[in-house]
Amino acid sequence: MKCNKLVDAGRRQFLRGGVMATAGAVAATVMTPEQAKAQALARVDYPANRLANIADLVVNEPLEVAYPDADSPGVLLKLGQAVEGGVGPDGDIVAFSVLCPHKGWLMSYSAGDKTLNCPGHHSRFDCEAGGQQIWGHATSNLAQFLLRVDNQGDIFAEGVDELIYGRLSNVLA
């Protein structure tokens, strides 16, 4: 099944660890005034990352993506039916983190009912309802990537609406 292959591929990538993370990022204990100002934003500054082009998407087939960086795996979906929060000409393109917000297991996509499912403890999230937890142990709904589509059909992720599992800042320092 495709969805389970996605899990396996994703897990390999995920468990490999922070290859893209900044090396040796030990914070300085004394900040210069400039640094203090730079870090004093009330919210994290999200990058605008191109995830794919609309032409790359097939209805109800998940495309592996990562956002805001390579260590935060996600899934880009063209659901085939407009949903609240969906983008693109059909209003049906959405993207979610695939790290279960309960314990960080990689979730798989069930094309049958358009849900993301956690193999660890069986939590489930509805991709057609903004990632609402259908049933499970997580104390939040699923982190959704905020998307924008440009004139060329390129799809950009530009923000996240929940804290991504495994990081205390959605954009790593």
Binding site: N4, V26, A27, Y46, G104, T115, H122, T139, L163, L172
Partner: protein, 821 residues
């Protein structure tokens, strides 16, 4: 659109943050958590030496990490008069949950009252007294003076039987050894209150009388038995939904290690679905019996096991009664008790008879018997752990049905053995320590009916909301409101009078059939709408609180924040009531009676603990419990050696059974004779209505709906109580998902939200129990068993649509709850 917190960053716990032991106070499993607090003007950093975890938080942390917490695990609370950061996260070193958080417990921080973040502003902060047509905030002394004057006057002019008390008897949130002792000392020592009831049932009684009468305490195993067993036999319970971390951390390893799973439940539960995933469908047996027929099934299992010779003969000979009848059936014992042979005379049931009544195949019943008791190929005995809960506790013929289930465990020697046990799964934690309740009697008074009949004049209510959690709730509410309104009117009429004149007006109204209501709670509850005095209590972690979980694991859950506003621990509220009673009674010239209210000079909850539980268990102190941490000690505590409390992993390992108090130490079997529907009115109701109205629980708010009615994450998911129905039944009734409906029968009406559930049988619905927005108890008839145990589970009604889906319900997900991997 699903609720999102829009939090993209959280403060980091600094390396030197204060750390506290926390036991989740919601359900009986009692998962271990750690609370961290630190000053508002400080924060940790991403470098390993700057944070509590000692890891580089500038990197992504991986699955199952300890170095992460969700926004729901963070808040800003008051500690020693100052605002502090708070994180409450699962404890990886607690053997109960091994770092797993539940959807309830992992929101403990968010569900704390905070004037900074605005959470749980429904919490009561000050005493309130009904005056001038509203509840007026006031001081403790003012409120308690009124409570004491009315209570004392009614008790002296009438008797203590005119004082009715509803009070928790459990551990966790509202209860615990401190608070059950405080209330118990007030009502069972200073007074001898007979007309009292517990939070979820209309009398003061055990939910498992038969197990205890048979000698078997209902919490006799260790959770590790689920991992060490051959078969898990679950009846009327749904642990994946309700005790998620017991299921995930103890049952699942058992299933993955080769254990088989039998589930007796009329509906396909999530426990069944998940067990099929973890163990393989061939190792899961679902006996989807007709509702209320459990006893017949158990009797057939026992008969087959006896006839096949799969009993544990040595155990039976050594540890069970041999002389025929030991206890005759009488008004206090709804069934006779005695030897196995004696019980078999009544219990004998063939597989075919059971198949006919229960609506499952004889082959499946036989298969269950084999999984429970057939020896292994090498001749060794099979281990089976039996667990049960509300499906039979609140089911048909409680006493005999539970007795019939315990019979199987006794016959197969599965009590006091590794991988065995026959236990209720429980709801709240336990935490009962009170003076003797012998004066209450057995059967105890059916208190709801006592009040409905117009009896009693003063009603003290402690953390109970019968509007949501009693049976026959429609009638109860009508009468309770009418009687308490009489007193409200009297108070309003006496406005401007002296305290003495107001008290006289209240007592006159009571004598005319009114009811004076004192409500002690953490929020302004629904039954609190009828109160004349409202007293604000606090919860675990706003005070130190000791409780034990479902494997008798005793922990101290530490205070890490101040009580909200002027609220107090229940134990100290009880003490203050006692002190005011003493003062008022002396003023009344009742010195001898006043003397009974001495001995409450407690400054802290620890004083209350040491006055009660600590006095009887001298090794158990706060200091020793703090040192024992989140793993605590399993009761009974037998000593203190080498700086550690010494506990008991499982009961009855010596084969001596004591719960019934018999000197011979022999367990008894129950003569569980089937008699169809035991409670009055059930058969007639079943015949008169289309739908069986089962009541069920949901993991998202089980045991904490009273807080979650003010939690946006939860209200977004379930804005109305769900009523799960088969989709074809919904089509029949013209219902779409999210439509609002009402359930009607002769007992009353309740309402909820249609929620399709294709796995349900036709003409049955599963409605969430105890919802603030629709009480299932409204439609449950008043039928109870001989010992006043309610049969909430058996209720039938008709359903009609009252509204199309609302803007809120239209947006939620109605997809299957079962995992799709």
């Amino acid at each position: 659109m699903a609720y999102k917190r829009q939090i993209d960053r959280l403060p980091i716990i600094p390396a030197d943050a204060d750390e506290f032991n926390v036991t989740c106070h919601y359900c009986i499993v009692g998962c271990g958590y750690k609370a961290y607090t630190w000053p508002m003007n400080r924060q940790g950093g991403t470098a390993p030496n700057q944070n509590k975890f000692g890891v580089d938080l500038s990197e992504q942390q991986f699955m199952e990490t300890e170095a992460w917490y969700a926004p729901s695990m963070y808040n800003v609370v008051r500690q020693n008069g100052r605002d502090v950061h708070l994180v409450v996260k699962p404890d990886a070193n607690c053997v109960v949950n091994s770092g797993l958080g539940s959807i309830r417990g992992a929101r403990m921080a968010e569900n704390r009252p905070s004037k900074v973040t605005g959470t749980q502003q429904q919490r009561l902060s000050d005493p309130m007294v009904w005056r001038n047509g509203v509840w007026q905030p006031t001081s403790w002394d003012d409120a308690l003076d009124l409570v004491a004057r009315v209570t004392a006057k009614v008790a002296v002019e009438g008797s203590e039987d005119d004082i009715v008390v509803s009070m928790f008897d459990h551990g966790g949130s509202a209860g615990g050894y401190e608070n059950t002792w405080g209330t118990g000392k007030l009502y069972f020592e200073s007074m001898k209150i007979k007309n009292c009831r517990i939070h979820n049932r209309p009398a003061y009684n055990s939910e498992v009388h038969s197990s205890r009468d048979m000698g078997v305490d209902e919490l006799n195993y260790a959770y590790e038995d689920y991992t060490l067993t051959d078969t898990i036999f679950m009846v009327g319970a749904n642990s994946m939904e309700t005790q998620t971390n017991l299921y995930l951390n103890h049952m699942v390893p058992g299933l993955q290690g080769g254990a088989k799973m039998i589930v007796v439940d009329p509906r396909r539960t999530l426990t069944i679905a998940s067990s099929e995933q973890y163990a393989g469908p061939e190792n899961v047996l679902h006996l989807a019996i007709a509702e209320g027929t459990d006893m017949v099934l158990f009797n057939a299992l026992l008969t087959h096991i006896v006839d096949q010779g799969w009993v544990d003969a040595d155990f039976i000979a050594a540890s069970t009664f041999q002389g025929g009848e030991a206890v005759a059936q009488d008004s206090a014992h709804p069934a006779g008790l005695g030897s196995l042979e004696y019980a078999m005379q009544t219990c004998r049931t063939t597989l075919e008879e059971a198949a006919e009544i229960c609506g499952v195949s004889a082959a499946d019943i036989q298969k269950a018997a084999e999984w429970i008791a057939q020896p292994h190929d090498d001749g060794s005995r099979r281990k089976c752990v039996t667990c049960y809960e509300k499906g039979i506790i609140w089911g048909n013929d409680n006493y005999r049905t539970i007795g019939a289930l315990v019979n199987i465990a006794l016959a197969t020697g599965n009590v006091g053995r590794i991988g065995g046990g026959v236990c209720r799964l429980g709801g709240h934690q336990e935490g009962y320590f009170r003076p003797s309740e012998a004066h209450v009697g057995r059967p105890s008074e059916y208190v709801d009916q006592f009040l409905i009949r117009g009896l009693g004049g003063v009603h003290h209510i402690w953390a109970c909301d019968h509007y949501k959690t009693t049976l026959n709730a429609s009638e109860f509410k009508r009468v309770h409101k009418r009687r308490s309104d009489m007193v409200k009117d009297a108070i309003d009429m006496a406005a401007g009078g002296t305290r003495e004149q107001v008290v006289d007006a209240i007592v006159s109204a009571i004598n005319a059939g009114g009811l004076f209501v004192v409500d002690v709670d953490i929020i302004h509850s629904q039954i609190g709408q009828n109160a004349h005095v409202i007293l604000p209590a606090c919860e675990a972690n706003e005070m130190n609180l000791t409780s034990m979980n479902g494997e008798r694991r005793l922990r101290l859950s530490e205070k890490y924040m101040d009580p909200f506003g002027n609220s107090l621990p229940d134990a100290l509220i009880a003490a203050r009531i006692a002190q005011h009673m003493e003062r008022v009674l002396r003023e009344m010239g009742e010195d001898a009676y006043a003397d009974q209210f001495q001995g409450y000079d407690w400054e802290t909850e620890e004083d209350a603990f040491m006055d009660g539980y600590g006095a009887a268990h001298t090794a158990v102190t706060y200091e020793h419990l703090r040192a024992a941490g989140n793993n605590g000690v399993q009761e009974p505590v037998v000593g203190y050696e080498n700086g550690q409390l010494v506990g008991t992993t499982r009961l009855y390992t010596d084969g001596v059974f004591t719960r019934h108090g018999r000197e011979d130490g022999k367990a008894l079997f129950c003569a569980a004779g089937w008699r169809g529907w035991q409670a009055p009115g059930k058969a007639r109701e079943q015949a008169a209505h289309r739908f069986w109205i089962n009541n069920v629980r949901a993991n998202i708010f089980w045991q904490n709906q009273f807080l979650d009615q003010d939690n946006d994450f939860v209200q977004d998911r379930y804005p109305h109580p769900f009523v799960e129905m088969h989709p074809d039944d919904m089509v029949d009734l013209g219902l779409n998902p999210g439509d609002l409906l009402e359930i009607i029968n002769d007992n009353g009406v309740t309402q909820g939200m249609a929620y399709p559930m294709p796995t349900l049988k036709r003409n049955t619905v599963a409605m969430v129990f105890g919802s603030p927005a629709g009480s299932q108890g409204n439609v449950v008839n008043p039928g109870v068993n001989e010992l006043v145990l309610p049969d909430y589970k058996h209720c039938w009604g008709d359903i009609r649509k009252i509204s199309d889906a609302t803007a809120q319900t239209r947006g939620i997900s109605f997809k299957s709850h079962e995992i799709m991997l």
